[in-house]
Amino acid sequence: MTQTDPTAAAGAPEAAASSVTRAEYCVIACAEAWRGAGEILASPMGTVPAIAARLAKLTFSPDLLLTDGEALLIGDVPAVGAPSAVTEGWLPYRRHLTMAMGGRRHVMMGASQIDRFGNQNISCIGDWERPRRQLLGVRGAPVNTLNNPVSYWIPRHSKRVFVEKVDMISGVGYDSAAAAGPSATRFHDLRRVVSDLGVFDFGAADHAMRLVSLHPGVTVEQVRESTGFRLAEADEVPCTREPTAEELRLIRDVVDPRGLREREVRP
């Protein structure tokens, strides 16, 4: 479970598992965010979450709503990047924002920075008045985090992303929501963080970020060294679960036949 050499997994007894790539474990870990979600919109940002949302719909969460990435709700599950053939609804930006405020959505966002209470930054690096590096802007992160369940996907786990304190709170973390009062906490619900190293939740004391599983081939030390704050962890950290044979087939042949997932995650 904690071998330092990722290639060591190749010698593992389970032949099927040995061929599973890091990107595929990430897909599984992201898909799990939408397990049991029911009839809500899965809003994935990034390639791996997009594959994961489709996989979840094809397997354990068939009632999920998906979009074409623009203004349509799609009634089929085409491969990522392929056109949809069935439209089951209309979701232009203004209705999408209303849906977020109504709470019937679980978004998986990216983060340029994230801290131990889940505060996220996509706006700028450095001083906001005169940023060292201007990024996107807060976009919908403030409304998302106060209104519907939110998870995060971080394809390159590093100290530059997992920081002690974010420069501009775009997505609201547990400590910030608590400080802002009851209307901020009423629907605040950060579920999980998936990185290329493992899966994290906010189940530690005071809702601090906690390591809940390691992708096979990753060690706890590796995660610690790549994280800029003290991370809570259980005594025994399990591995991220194996995909089933059917899930692997769906990922490889149906949802992502072009292998786009491998471009987003280092092997």
Partner: protein, 287 residues
């Protein structure tokens, strides 16, 4: 009834330095780029611009025309970071009011409805309140007593939007999947100017499209102008998608002062017709 057609330059002739200007579209989608290009040719400056930002913001920022920007983001979509916007922010070129996307929508809605503000459950706990100390909260007068953010109305002197079709009276129609917020921009502005791919007879507007595509009504429109390719290089679905190779060339040029000077000289110094011809010639060279 009043024929409201006018040229892009005549529209820009109605604008003044120091105005608050709303620009419709979203990111690098259905931006009124022909009107933005006309604005670039004018002496107008010192603008407060209100937009879900795309290359409209990049171009106006690069030309030094923005004093203050009200936005939730500025992006080229397929290229996440707008290079001119980034550079302008990193040199502290203008004042920024950075709002959340939904807060921005509430601000437009309040502006259109002549309300001083609309409440929202967004902004609380985020640094949007820290960097906008002018923002206030409001307490629900009902039993819940919730404290919410009071988003002030976004009210503008003029709005610029681009749609697929319009008639000469200013009724305007979008044929793509997303209206963005163009109707709200027009209704929240004292004057509103619509550019479109084609001006057609009113009877033609709903001959092939459902009536709910009629996004903007003439009472909210001051002037209308036909600018084929007027959203280029942003998308104007279904008339055309985003010109990705050209957008890439724009973004690359924006990263280097000499290359940007060359880009400006080639594409932005002449008329709109010159621009469209230069783009065609550029595409021929790429083949």
């Amino acid at each position: 009834m009043t024929d409201k057609t006018m040229t892009p330059d005549a529209i820009v002739g109605r604008l003044r330095s120091g105005m608050t200007l709303g620009i419709g579209g979203w990111g690098s989608r259905r931006k009124p780029m022909a009107l933005v290009r006309a604005l670039l040719r004018s002496g107008i400056t010192d603008l407060t611009v209100v937009a879900y930002g795309g290359p409209d913001i990049g171009l106006l920022a690069a030309a030094g025309k923005i004093r203050k920007l009200v936005t939730a983001f500025t992006t080229l979509d397929s290229i996440p970071l707008e290079p001119h916007f980034r550079a302008a922010r990193e040199r502290g070129a203008f004042e920024l009011v950075e709002l959340d996307e939904a807060m921005f929508m509430q601000g437009l809605t309040a502006g259109a409805q002549r309300l001083p503000f609309l409440p929202i459950r967004a902004g609380l706990g985020s640094d949007v309140l820290r960097v906008n100390p002018q923002l206030r909260t409001v307490t629900s007068p009902y039993e819940d007593g919730e404290e919410l953010v009071a988003v002030p109305a976004l009210r503008m002197d003029a709005a610029l939007v681009h749609l697929n079709r319009a008639d000469r009276l200013g009724n305007a129609q979008y044929l793509g999947p997303d209206p963005y917020f163009d109707d709200l921009f027009c209704e929240a502005s004292d004057t509103a100017y619509v550019s479109c791919e084609r001006i057609v007879a009113s009877s033609e507007l709903t001959e092939q499209a459902a009536p709910q595509t009629m996004l903007i009504s003439r009472h909210a429109v001051t002037g209308v102008t036909e600018t084929p390719g007027g959203a280029h290089f942003t998308s104007c679905v279904p008339d055309y998608g985003r010109d990705e190779p050209f957008q890439k060339a724009y973004a690359t040029a924006a990263g280097d002062p000499d290359a940007w000077k060359e880009f400006e000289d080639r594409f932005l110094t002449g008329t709109e017709q010159d621009y469209q011809a230069a783009v065609q010639a550029w595409h021929k060279e790429q083949r």
